[in-house]
């Protein structure tokens, strides 16, 4: 057996881990191959806020030493992984792409970070995002946008654009993002990679800087469906530090991938919101055809309250955000702008520390929760949330999974929507309802659309329906070829 020195950087996490565990390839070589890509293209793409090359090298060396000593470093041995910069990493800056937290180093690791580290992963850096995960293009980052590796004049999507771009550009073999209204799935679709938002409560939120706590969920970006299953198996499972974590063991998904879709019922939403690009609609039709050809049955389902999802989301998410982001007051950590008294210091700090979109949502959310307006706005949004869950429950009596586009459009040019929040919000029209329902959903690359840019098809499943969701996703992946 020869030690390979010319390592490919486009291998999957699954392949890398298998090679490193078997001693066929060194973790430091895998890392170097990915860091070489960072050196070559990061200046154009801007996927990272921080690259932790030195720390990554030490970890990779430790992985190699373990293998040499006959120990198994774990299922992700030597896999270079990037983390969205809203997940706490002990001693490594965690900024949420906000001036407010610039330079802040958490004294603790998020649970997902601990679990990935225990599985032998090598962290290459912290990726860019829309400030505090609020946005759909990463243009709301205080440190500049992440550009799409397929066309650097276009956005990478958001809010987890940095994590999507890092995988698409092979800066890392996989990455983690967070998804509150589509922030994993939409950039995955725009960058042509797989992105999963698991069932709410499947992956611990401990150490994820909160945007909207009842909607936030961490999930993986990967090059293929199998890697997504591998990552999700590693990071899922009960965490006593997160009270909303479902008390159950980690998901078992790898065994589902080759089961096919024969006999499965695939739901097609008859009253799907309109406005998608024709190529996107065409790819969705092809996706249904591919599944039908593989033995699935296509069934029509109605989701009449879906059209209210966006409105409800833009009340619930900002309401929670207005409370979650109140702690950035200049008193204990992060930015402080001094002023004559405490209230003036609060105002000066928060005026300087937050960008426009964050301020917009804090104001929206504060208003929606205010005395006299609660019932008309926040209270009503909660009722819509219930209606959407009820609609899904009825639909899943008829269908095992539902297919939609992930994003109505392919990656759009930088700046084309930056001054129009409403058109930006519409990017998430297909992804938001699953967050409101707490259900899992994932985006699978399915051929290309306008300008030859990637198109993603979204697979939706009921609560804890990840096994069937992955069966269908694996079939779509096969069908897309």
């Amino acid at each position: 057996m020869s030690m390979s020195t010319t390592t490919g950087s486009d291998d999957t996490a699954y392949q890398i881990a298998a090679d490193v565990r078997a001693g066929r390839r060194r973790a430091v070589d895998v890392l170097d191959a990915h860091l070489a890509n960072v050196s070559a293209r990061e200046a154009d793409v801007h996927a990272f806020n921080t690259v932790t090359a030195d720390q990554a090298r030490r970890t990779a060396e430790a992985v190699d030493a373990a293998v040499a000593a006959g120990r198994d470093p774990g299922p992700l041995a030597g896999v270079p992984i990037a983390l969205k910069d809203n997940m706490c990493t002990r001693g490594v800056p965690t900024t949420c792409s906000s001036r407010m937290l610039e330079g802040w180093k958490p004294p603790y690791d998020a649970t997902v970070v601990t679990r990935l580290a225990a599985a032998g992963a090598v962290f290459v850096g912290k990726t860019n995002l829309d400030e505090f995960a609020m946005g759909s293009s990463t243009e709301n980052s205080a440190f500049g946008p992440t550009l799409n590796p397929h066309d650097v004049t276009r956005v990478s999507g958001g809010s987890s654009g940095g994590s999507a771009a890092a995988v698409a550009a092979h800066f890392a073999a996989a990455s983690l993002g967070s998804d509150t209204g589509g922030s994993i799935r939409q950039p995955a679709a725009l960058c042509g990679v797989v992105g999963v938002k698991p069932t709410y409560g499947t992956v611990s939120r401990y150490g994820l800087v909160a945007f909207a706590s009842s909607l936030d969920q961490i999930g993986p970006f990967t090059l293929d469906v199998r890697d997504a299953a591998l990552l999700l198996e590693t990071i899922s499972g009960h965490d006593p530090l997160d009270s909303t974590s479902i008390p159950q063991p980690p998901l078992q998904l790898l065994g589902e991938l080759d089961r096919g879709v024969k006999g499965l019922r695939i739901g097609r939403i008859t009253d799907l919101p309109e406005g998608s690009e024709p190529e996107v609609e065409q790819r969705l039709a092809e996706a249904f055809d591919a599944l039908a050809a593989a033995g699935a049955t296509i069934v029509d389902v109605e989701l009449p309250s879906l059209k209210y999802g966006l409105t409800a989301y833009y009340l619930i998410a900002p309401a929670e955000a207005s409370s979650n982001l109140a702690r950035y007051d200049g008193v204990r950590y992060g930015m402080r702008v001094d002023a004559a008294d405490t209230n003036a210091m609060y105002m000066a700090t928060r005026s300087a520390g937050f960008g426009d979109e964050v301020k917009r949502r804090i104001m929206l959310g504060t208003y929606a929760l205010s005395a006299g307006y609660y019932d008309a706005y926040y209270g009503k949004a909660l009722k819509v949330r219930r209606l959407i869950s009820d609609d899904f429950a009825r639909a899943y009596e008829r269908a095992d999974v539902i297919l939609t586009p992930t994003s109505p459009i392919v990656a759009f040019p930088v700046g084309s929507k930056a001054d129009d929040p409403l058109s930006m919000y519409l990017c998430d029209v297909f992804t938001i309802p699953t967050n409101l329902a707490g259900h899992p959903a994932m985006s699978v690359p399915f051929r290309t659309g306008a300008h030859g840019l990637p198109v993603g098809v979204q697979v939706l499943a009921p609560t804890l329906g990840e096994p069937v969701m992955f069966r269908v996703a694996a079939e779509l992946e096969r069908g897309a070829r």
Binding site: N86, M87, C88, T94, C96, L101, W104, P106, P107, Y108, A110, R205, Y206, G207, L208, V209, A210, A212, S213, S214, P240, L241, D242, S243, T244, A319, E320, S322, S323, A326, R327, D329, V331, R332, Y333, D341, T342, N343, Y346, T366, L369, S370, A371, Y374, Y378
Partner: protein
């Protein structure tokens, strides 16, 4: 005793108390940091306590259990409940919201019975987290406004609190004092809190209004910063009189929060209703509903110790003394009722034990050093006439000082021995002969004159004479 006709200048007082108590848990309400008072600042902290980005709360089961104990001891229904966020900015509140309970609290609809029997309604008793503690340097009055800088100690942040909201059933300052005293005793008895007002582990706010009998409720003011039971009564009375003076002079009472100033004995405006924060309560998305199942509630209920009221009734039955009389109130508050009953079980008169313990055991706490058998022996000597009451007191003082002792030996060493009746009678006759003036006055109906005679007898008997026996002899010799 409560007084149904308590009035100030023709006005009735209407008062409801909100009491915050810190629970005696080992750790905080939502994190594993220690819940301990008095250590160096900022040593009991962690990501959750400091509200660091990404930190999440995990509910402390023990805190829930202690909160349930409080609810059950106050005759509340324990019910499924939720947590809400109460949003407001203050430097010692790390998340800029307090996790509290709002429309679905853990305990609802109970009551507390005052020693005299009056029931004060309990609206709710809910769980919430405490804030940190601010110290404002410079400026005036320790307030943040106008201070040079502020220091914050987060040791207290996240300490579990139960807020006990009483209904406005309190009609006198004395009832308010009784309520807090009784509540304190219950909290200590059930091990829920050390409930020390001076250390802040029990804090009391009073809602006060006044009205003419038969009128609808008046506008209320909330009084904060009341730091002792004594101040509570003073603050309520001051506030009631202030409101009455306003009404009498044709002005209106403004709904506001007022600050009790111990030094000038007045309340002062803290903030008016118009300045009140909009707390924007909403369901805390980081926690799930808390649903105590019936078996857990039953377990907690079954483990409750006897409550102070039950202990007073028990001691009253054993001694014949009134349950709300001073002696029983005092010894039960000290927790010495078990000890008194043990003295009775050792064969002594339990009523006498009540008197001795109340008088001589003020510094002894709930578990006196003096063995119950030692006190029992002393009481038996006394009730069998071998020691006078005065002698018994002297011997007891020695026993208490030494933490125990053989009453008979101490009495013997002091030369105490019971006098026989003829010896005492001779002394009485001698005293009458030697104090003819006093005897004449006494016989003429001047009761005070007896003091000189008794004094003379005590002197000649060197304190061995039994005061009661002397009085009886003098009375019989006078013929009445």
């Amino acid at each position: 005793m409560s007084d149904a006709t308590y009035m100030i200048d023709g006005y009735e007082l209407v008062c409801g108390l909100e009491v915050h108590v810190e629970l005696a848990t080992a750790t905080k309400l939502f994190s594993a940091s220690a819940n301990r008072f008095g250590d160096d600042p900022n040593v009991h902290i962690d990501p959750v306590t400091l509200g660091l980005p990404g930190a999440l709360p995990v509910l402390n089961r023990r805190a829930v259990e202690l909160a349930m104990r409080i609810g059950l001891a106050l005759n509340c229904s324990v019910q499924p409940c939720t947590f809400h966020r109460k949003n407001y900015f203050y430097p010692d509140m790390p998340k800029a919201y307090q996790i509290s309970q709002y429309d679905q609290p853990l305990n609802i609809d109970g009551w507390l019975e005052l020693p005299g029997g009056k029931r004060i309604g309990i609206e709710r008793a809910h769980l919430e987290e405490d804030t940190g503690k601010s110290t404002h340097i410079g400026g005036t009055g320790g307030r943040i406004h106008g201070s040079d800088h502020s220091l914050i100690d987060f040791n207290r942040a996240g300490v579990p609190l139960v807020e006990i909201v009483g209904r406005p059933d309190i009609a006198t300052p004395d009832e308010a004092r009784q309520y807090v005293t009784e509540l304190r005793q219950i909290l200590v008895a059930i091990g829920a809190s050390d409930a020390k007002m001076e250390e802040g582990s029990m804090r009391c706010d009073a809602n006060v209004s006044v009205r003419k009998p038969g009128d609808p409720l008046g506008t209320r003011c909330e009084i904060k910063n009341v730091n002792s039971v004594r101040s509570l009564g003073r603050a309520i009375e001051y506030e009631a009189r202030r409101q009455i003076a306003l009404i009498e002079s044709g002005e209106k009472v403004r709904q506001e929060t007022r600050h009790w100033d111990e030094n000038d004995g007045r309340t002062h405006t803290l903030r008016s209703k118009e300045d009140a924060d909009d707390y924007r309560y909403f369901l805390e998305p980081d926690l799930v509903p808390l649903v105590p199942d019936a078996s857990w509630i039953d377990q907690v209920r079954a483990a409750l110790p006897l409550l102070p009221r039950e202990r007073r009734t028990r001691l009253s039955a054993a001694t014949g003394a009134p349950a709300d009389g001073e002696a029983i109130m005092v010894v039960v508050e000290r927790g010495q009722d078990d000890y008194i009953l043990a003295v009775g079980e050792a064969g002594a008169d339990v009523a006498r034990a009540l008197v001795h313990v109340k008088e001589a055991f003020a510094e002894q706490g709930a578990t006196p050093q003096v063995p119950a058998a030692d006190l029992a022996r002393l009481i038996t000597l006394e009730t069998s006439g071998k020691l006078t009451a005065t002698q018994a007191k002297t011997v007891l003082a020695e026993i208490v000082a030494a933490g125990g002792g053989d009453a008979e030996a101490i009495a013997a060493a002091k030369g105490f021995e019971a006098m026989d009746t003829s010896e005492l009678e001779a002394m009485v006759d001698a005293a009458i002969a030697g104090n003819a003036d006093a005897w004449a006055k006494y016989c003429g109906g001047e009761e005070k004159a007896m003091g000189a005679l008794v004094g003379a007898i005590m002197k000649s008997s060197k304190g061995k004479a039994d005061g009661k026996a002397v009085t009886a002899l003098l009375q019989s010799k006078r013929g009445s």
